[in-house]
């Protein structure tokens, strides 16, 4: 387990050097994207921003407009598994190097991480206020027609803390812990 401070955009070699269990603090640009955004990309629309080397944050933030700019009031991660059907495609077609979310993702995404060089970064579920503090600026927004939580927000973050739970070597902490805990609970089973 190691600690890294990384700035987006990320290059493939850096991402491939990360391992499950590593702590990664992200600084720089993050784009939010969740169900409606992934679905729209999946059905053929090109994303409005260049995602190459970037990270998509599974998050529907609470934004308020102050004068002519936006302020983020709450921005914890949302459940990632809903993007399982599409995420690998976004890795393949647009070169994203990672996603931030919660709860982990399945085998398609894990394969995608290994094939295209990407990682799954787990944020702390429910920590809406801490995450909002790491977001220093909101620089823009696209696809507002999807509704504010589903839009693509251009965030600028500093030291956004995550843990690698799926790496580019085919390892998933979620899979490992599931198997280990299953065995432990089996040994403790009541009869």
């Amino acid at each position: 387990m190691a600690n890294y401070n990384l700035t987006t955009p990320l290059d493939e070699a850096t991402v491939r050097s990360l391992n499950v269990g590593d702590t990664v603090s992200i600084s720089g640009r993050l784009y939010t994207g969740r169900d409606a955004m992934h679905h729209r990309i999946h059905t053929g629309t090109k994303p409005p921003v260049d995602l190459a080397g970037h990270i998509i944050y599974h998050c529907g933030p609470v934004m308020v407009k102050e004068g002519d700019h936006w302020k983020c009031n709450a921005a914890g991660p949302t459940t990632s598994s809903r993007e399982e059907p599409y995420q690998w495609e976004v890795m393949r077609d647009y070169g994203i190097r990672g996603v931030i979310g919660k709860g982990g993702m399945g085998p398609k995404t894990l394969d995608g991480c290994a094939k295209y060089g990407a990682v799954y970064l787990h944020a702390i579920g429910g920590a809406a206020q801490v995450c909002a503090q790491w977001i220093k600026r909101v620089d823009g927004v696209d696809w507002m027609d999807l509704g504010s939580p589903e839009a693509i927000w251009h965030l600028w973050v500093e030291d956004f803390m995550t843990i690698v739970t799926m790496d580019a070597h085919g390892k998933s902490l979620h899979k490992e812990i599931f198997e280990e805990s299953k065995a432990k609970l089996l040994a403790l089973k009541a009869s």
Binding site: M1, G21, T23, G60, P61, V62, V64, N73, A74, A75, G76, T78, T79, S81, K102, G103, G104, H122, I124, G125, G126, A127, A128, Q129, V130, Q133, G147, M161, I163, T165, L173, H174, I177, F178, E180, S181, K182, K184, L185, L188, K189, A190, S191
Partner: protein, 305 residues
């Protein structure tokens, strides 16, 4: 309804009750109850320093403090809004429901609650947390002179981890305590970190499918450090927490010693033909609070939790 009619209806609600429920919602969404904070701190102390579990609980601790200081929602998912209300005999429950619904609308406008109520057919968000089935009201009468309102905000991530088992079950066992225990622990295994653990379980043994889930959720109104009045259930609660915490799932499913903060189990009678075990999984952002209200004035006379 026209805008003017709506305004008239808004004005018609009892202003004192409205204010009391609004403050109850603010406190619930922004300040985690003491018993929960204590349980998280105790759990945190057991985790190895520098581990991923430690990192997660550190951030959770910071988040609890920040939300309180900023009077902002602890988690952006402010969940299903569940009211549990006791009123004296003869009290106007409809007036209370109207005032509470209006308070929910106002709390949503202010931002203590997220716009969280979606039409299941059209997908349209009502924008104010009201609509068929939301918020949820459970009314009961009692012979005490005052009104008691408890409210719980239960997020979607953990609600999706709820589970109901029908015993006997080929892998988990029969209609006995061992079968019940194995069913509850299977729910913990399946949930892993996806319910934003460390979690708290409310469990009901028995009932029909509907009442069993409702009663399981009601168990979450108990204090975390209380003792079950039934020693058999008390022992089972302890066993569940102990075994879950030996599973190694840990906070957020990162691995670690804290998988559950507590387990609260109740029983309801069942039909001879059925045996349900229902589990309500609550996340660490365990938001539930209560208030005692003077029936005549609508003012708060005491805060609960």
């Amino acid at each position: 309804m026209s805008a003017t009619a709506q305004q008239a209806e808004q004005k018609a609600v009892d202003p004192a009750l409205f204010e009391t429920v609004l403050e109850l919602i603010r406190r619930t969404s922004t300040i985690l109850p003491d018993d929960v904070v204590r349980a998280i701190e105790t759990a945190h102390a057991t985790e190895e320093k520098g581990s991923n579990a430690d990192v997660a609980l550190n951030i959770i601790g910071c988040n609890i403090g920040l939300a309180k200081d900023k009077s902002a929602p602890i988690c952006q998912d402010t969940g299903t809004i569940l009211f549990y209300i006791h009123t004296p005999v003869g009290y106007d429950q409809l007036a209370l429901e109207e005032a509470a619904t209006e308070a929910v609308r106002e709390a949503t406008r202010i931002g203590y609650l997220r716009q969280n109520s979606v039409d299941s057919l059209t997908g349209k968000n009502s924008g104010d947390n009201t609509g068929p089935g939301s918020p949820v009201f459970h009314f009961h009468q009692w012979r005490k002179p005052h009104v008691e309102i408890k409210v719980m905000l239960k997020g979607g991530g953990c609600e999706n981890m709820n589970a109901q088992y029908s015993l006997p079950h080929p892998d988990l066992g029969g209609r006995d305590l061992a079968g019940v225990e194995n069913a509850i622990l299977d729910c913990v295994l399946q949930a892993q970190g996806q319910g934003c653990g460390p979690g708290i379980l409310g469990v009901c043994i028995g009932g029909d499918r509907g009442t069993s889930y409702a009663f399981a959720k009601e168990q979450l109104l108990r204090l975390l450090d209380d003792t079950n009045t039934d020693p058999v259930l008390g022992d089972l609660e302890k066993r569940i927490v102990d075994k879950a915490n030996r599973s190694g799932i840990g906070p957020m499913g990162f691995g670690g010693k804290t998988t559950l903060l507590a387990c609260k189990i109740g029983v309801a009678n069942r039909l001879p033909a059925s045996f349900f075990v229902s589990i309500a999984y609550m996340c660490w952002a365990y938001r539930r609070r209560g208030v005692e209200i003077d029936a005549a004035s609508g003012a708060a006379v005491g805060w609960l939790y």
